[in-house]
Symmetry: C2
Subunit: 297 residues, 2 copies
């Protein structure tokens, strides 16, 4: 009997790390969720989980890390695998990939959480067959990654879709936005904390007829239109906690169709098919890490 390969998978988020030991066939053998504290606490805790897992399940073929950003994903760079300057306290310039490569003496795949999610959805989820696809998360932060013909894109750094600057909604001109860098970028206007900062509640706790729903949908629809203009994706996937709000995805579709004014693909674009939820659900982050690990082998 041949033992299947197993992978160490890490979804490294700004509030929590999700760790998983996952097989080639996407079976999760063990998983653990730990809070994101200082790197000196969180990284050793993750190492301990995977060391124990190796005793039980055998050695890892590779690790995959899908991380909050910004990160250095340039393999030729001396700081590959590190976080770059981030507003997340203690985490700027931290080597995230190195400790796992060293401890388990195996290859490490490393990318943004949203590029990982876009990759996983392209392989196994809602973006199968889409030559260009994007994955956007709207939660504690806002981020977006993109796949072009089978590979996540990087370029100068990597997509940072949360820092796209939308035009202001006419009923939302008095709020300055909460992004430490840009104030009123998408993250500063439409993230969970930005919603709470101006309406005192999460979007799902506000009444369905509260104007917040249309305002947030308007900002997200502008990202859709910008993606159509710049990237021409065949599938746009919206995940993250804010997107669990009832009716929000449909509002984004409706407002995107209005903003597009029958232009991008004219009558041929069905916004219900273009803009979708993650098919991998809550597992999309871990499956992103798995896909990165499999590609790093």
């Amino acid at each position: 009997m041949i033992t299947p390969s197993i992978y160490g998978c890490i979804e490294a988020g700004g509030t929590k790390f999700i760790l998983g030991i996952v097989t080639d066939t996407r079976e999760v053998l063990a998983t653990l969720r730990i809070p994101t504290e200082a790197p000196s606490i969180t990284i050793p805790a993750a190492l301990a989980f995977f060391r124990e897992g190796a005793i039980r399940h055998g050695p890892y073929a590779a690790f995959g890390i899908a991380s909050f950003g910004p990160v250095d994903v340039d393999r030729r760079s001396p700081s590959w695998g590190h976080l770059i300057e981030t507003p997340k306290v203690h985490w700027s310039n931290i080597d995230l990939a190195g400790p796992f490569a060293k401890a388990f003496d195996c290859p490490v795949g490393f990318d943004t959480d949203v590029n990982g999610a876009a990759l996983a959805e392209s392989l196994w989820g809602a973006a199968v067959g889409a030559d260009i696809a994007t994955y956007i998360t709207v939660g504690t932060g806002v981020g977006g990654g993109a796949m072009v013909e089978g590979r996540p894109i990087h370029g100068q750094r990597h997509p940072e879709m949360g820092h796209f600057r939308p035009a202001r909604h006419p009923h939302d001109t008095r709020f300055d936005g909460i992004c430490a860098f840009h104030g009123a970028c998408l993250e500063g206007l439409a993230s969970g904390p930005a919603i709470i900062a101006r309406w005192g509640a999460s979007l799902s706790d506000l009444p369905a007829d509260h104007e917040a729903h249309d305002i947030i949908a308007h900002y997200l629809a502008q990202l859709v239109i910008a993606q159509q203009a710049l990237l021409s994706p065949r599938r746009i996937i919206f995940g993250g906690g804010v997107m669990d709000t009832s009716g929000l995805l449909q509002r984004v579709r409706d407002q995107a169709a209005i903003l597009a004014a029958d232009y991008f693909g004219v009558a041929t674009i069905d916004y219900d098919a273009l803009i979708v939820s993650p098919a991998l659900g809550d597992q999309v982050g871990l499956m992103g890490a798995l896909a990165l690990a499999q590609r790093a082998r």
Copy 2:
């Protein structure tokens, strides 16, 4: 002596077609500029030029057509090589590639003018070595194409960067924009005709201290930031007649750096190196068609 391959090259614009017979080594053996009239006039005129060229120079190895859009660039589509619905009178649903493939019995490469320009600049110009690069033209219209790892991107259709919707400049709120589809998209606000519509002169004819310069730079800088957020290009090339305005490129750089707020690549991005003029100058359109022809062979 081996005769070099020659290619039929067409830069198909909304106001003029530039035709060229070009060798593998980028030598232009013959060229002709004809106005864009109805397809029943312009296409036969182009065919006649290339028929005469074939008598003098021999058969074409391939044709390359870099066209105004929107166009169908999907090889599997029955309308591949056609214009799609365009505001340009008479040109909607016209087969542009077919007549040349048929008349000269050779492969035809076909893409948007700006994707062709991005490809040519990646091969021979300002984007050599850039894994992700974009080419934007600001002239009679506004368009943008993108290269990702050696290939122009298409996806659902192809990039349509002129229809990106920027936030309005606070001193430019009374002009509705001239885009037939969107009013105040980038093309509706920053194209040559949009500039003339609200200030009665082209940008280069307005005094250097006229606020039009900052307003137009502000809109173009928003496209830069959107590209950084969504595509993360390593090189952004601005061509087209409006960009010949003295000082405009530098204003775009300056305003992009302000909008980015030291974010995308933090201190590592030099906006003078990121945002540049086409290295191929006036030949970028024809060289784009050449590159498309060479790849179609």
